[in-house]
Symmetry: C2
Subunit: 138 residues, 2 copies
Amino acid sequence: MEAQIDEILRKNQLSVTGSRKRILELFLMSNGALAHGDIEKKTGEKFDRVTVYRTLQTFLEKGIIHSIPTSDNSVLYALCKDDCSEGHHHDNHVHFICSDCGKTICLADVTVPQVKLPVGFLPQEYQMVVTGLCKDCR
Amino acid sequence: MEAQIDEILRKNQLSVTGSRKRILELFLMSNGALAHGDIEKKTGEKFDRVTVYRTLQTFLEKGIIHSIPTSDNSVLYALCKDDCSEGHHHDNHVHFICSDCGKTICLADVTVPQVKLPVGFLPQEYQMVVTGLCKDCR
DNA sequence: ATCTTTTTGCAACAAAGTTGCATGCTAGTT
DNA sequence: AACTAGCATGCAACTTTGTTGCAAAAAGAT
Ligand SMILES: [Mn+2]
Ligand SMILES: [Mn+2]
Ligand SMILES: [Zn+2]
Ligand SMILES: [Zn+2]
């Protein structure tokens, strides 16, 4: 794990620091998506709030994590697959949000279907979010 | 227009007030989705910020508007179709967000496709957001 | 016109996110 | 191992966004 974390940071030309290691670890351990608030809670008083914001921003730009659209105004983040890089994401998978426990899960094996749009629209990225009950809550 | 606005409010058992009329008018006039901030700007100093929040909340509950998921942390709202009612929305259409002008458009004629989920997941609602270039920006 | 209920505005607050800057740390160089 | 340039962090101060309680105002019913 420790080695994996270092490798991810190095591969993205990021210096290896305490906060980056810890936040990346949280993503690797979590089986769902994380909000800024989740991370703050789990790191406790260890890092400044601003550092968490900046770390997430950096990870997002580097393509280490991707953001997930939600209908309330929370922003969720999850780890990208290996083949994402700066400016080039390949996370065209469906996201599932459990309406009971609130957990958000990347369905890495479910590809977002493409739809036919009215003439004039030039699509670049398709995103799909399914709400419902997860395995544990149904 | 005036008559249409009154009718929508009456049909939903809402008293007809200045702020509700104005905000509903903004939605009817707009060809895209609106964020809370857009509405505040367009109404100017006319209504209190709190009133705008509460009006949107009320419209949402009554099924007059629906919210649209986005990847940043803005919440967007757009008018529902006629057959939406309290607790029963039928807005299973795709949403398009222009990455250039930022406008968000309801593609009322494009139905969200259903996907096959892994066993265990019980889907309730499917939402799809397409990012790209709109008619005016391509 | 009067009364009841709902809606609004205000104030005060809480939560979320941003920015500038001095200090500390990382990683590469000697 | 010590040095140093550049990057990352923490702190403070601030802005923006959203929430809550309550009294005044407006709406709808009688
Ligand atoms: Mn994902
Ligand atoms: Mn819509
Ligand atoms: Zn669940
Ligand atoms: Zn556009």
